[in-house]
Amino acid sequence: MAAAGERSARELSPLVSAKALVKRFGEVEAVRGIDVEVFKGEAFGFLGPNGAGKSSAMRMVGCVSPRSDGDLRVLDMDPQIDGPSIRARLGVVPQEDNLDTELSIRQNLQVYGRYFGLSRAHVRAKATELMEFAQLTERADDEVDTLSGGMKRRLTIARSLVNDPDLLLLDEPTTGLDPQARHLLWDRLFRLKQLGVTLLITTHYMDEAEQLCDRLVIMDNGRIVAEGSPPELIASYSTREVLELRFAPGESGDVASTVDGLADRVEVLPDRVLLYTENGEAALSATHARGVQPLSCLVRRSTLEDVFLRLTGRTLVD
């Protein structure tokens, strides 16, 4: 089979390969034995609620956090032994921007490039190219403090590309940005993906994962609870469509028994009843036939968010 052949060829060189990887902070186990393989050219996502262990996993891959147990290989090297050589080929976008606010945009890129041992002439040209890419050319000589949140984020991403990395680690790249800034960032990341850069992304935004990730794992409580492409995950953990019926607060509980059997799965929330089904319209007609009268109703396609909530629960984690 062609697909299997392609797969085995790719398996020759996973860029990241973790087996039973564990991270402990004292008594707390943040990562509890995960198996992950990331291949060249793919965009791989770690999805999970806050505190799921995504960032800890990411820091181990980034060689700034030693593993507590298990095996980890990055770019076919051991992070514990070859940290600097691996880091030389990684790009890292941290959760919080840590730009040098006393330097200009251009200087931030140039100084960072020098940390990789790149020549002055090279980083000068590279900085110009990256400012173009991040749409920051007009602000080249402004100080970082004067930038908006979205601009800082773009600069952080541009900075992570200064060494032309083989693998780009993005820890919650768009958290805290407005929709315009997010879409612009996604556009840039998508372009990188097309250029063949391998992306490793953590996020708790479902739309971000659906937009960017070819393959992802959902993490909860330090473990991987599901793995696959976004459509695969929706197919295995949710249905094609969802019918949402909205009720006045408190009334939704009474409806639960009435709609029983009309869908593959029914979820009752305080103000809504969700029916997971192949055909939302058919389910809607059937509920009307049974005399259910919701305040409003909505038929929509299932999203990764449905998968996520099903797997990680609706209760607040922290």
Partner: protein, 243 residues
């Protein structure tokens, strides 16, 4: 490959303060002090010029290794950014210490030249005083950086450091008068103060005199503090940045 920083120092402030002290104490206050056995038989200006260089170096070291270093871990987090590159935490520390060394050298040289113009030096020993200043500054900077890399609440730690350590050390380490004038218990504090050891060395270099053995002891104390503090700080940088 080492940790690079841009030249952003403000030479004016670091060079100016000890020079103001030199003008006020050496020329102003010093005009009231008769040369005597306590000043080694020289004018107060000559007596105080080398130690003001050394205590100025200590102040620079304190400022360069407190807020700036803590900020690299906590507020601006430049160090956190740097260790995602091939640079290691040990190199970050080495680079910062080197940076402090360069600042110390620069301001000591500026001070040396201006003080020379004011006639504060008696001979070429001033060149040695510059080196003593740099060594003393580094010996202070290394352990303070270890502190800065350790504390989670730097504001409290640093104000305590300034009030209860730096200030007394500044006043009672033989900068302005020989420590034989302070009571023995307090004198014991001066014995463990890097500034006193630096001052003794600097004064011997500038004015001549002094016996070899104590001088070697002073130098050894400073080198030991630099090495011990440096090793401690290096491991603290690792512990803070690799978790």
């Amino acid at each position: 490959m080492w940790y690079r920083r841009y030249w952003r120092s403000n030479l004016y402030s670091s060079g100016l303060q000890p020079l103001l002290f030199l003008a006020a104490m050496g020329l102003g206050f010093g005009s009231q002090v008769e040369p005597g056995p306590d000043t080694g038989g020289v004018d107060y200006l000559h007596f105080v010029a080398p130690t003001l260089l050394v205590s100025g170096a200590m102040m620079i070291a304190v400022f360069e290794s407190t807020w700036k270093v803590a900020s690299g871990f906590q507020w601006q987090q430049q160090y956190v950014a740097v260790v995602t590159t091939p640079i290691t935490p040990g190199q970050v520390f080495g680079g910062e210490l080197m940076w402090v060394g360069m600042r110390l050298l620069l301001s000591a040289v500026v001070y040396g030249i201006v003080a020379g113009a004011l006639g504060a030096w008696l001979g070429p020993g001033a060149l040695l005083v510059v080196l003593v200043g740099v060594l003393t500054g580094l010996a202070c900077a290394a352990p303070i950086m270890a502190l800065s890399a350790t504390v989670r609440n730097p504001s409290n730690a640093f104000s305590a450091l300034l009030r209860f350590v730096v200030m007394p050390v500044m006043l009672f380490s033989g900068t302005f008068f020989p420590i034989s004038y302070i009571p023995v218990p307090a004198r014991m504090l001066a014995w463990v103060s890097p500034l006193w050891h630096g001052n003794e060395l600097a004064r011997a270099a500038a004015l001549g005199g002094g016996e070899w053995l104590p001088l070697v002891g002073h130098g050894a104390f400073l080198v030991a503090l630099l090495l011990g503090g440096g090793l401690l700080a290096r491991s603290r940088f690792y512990r803070r940045l690799v978790v």
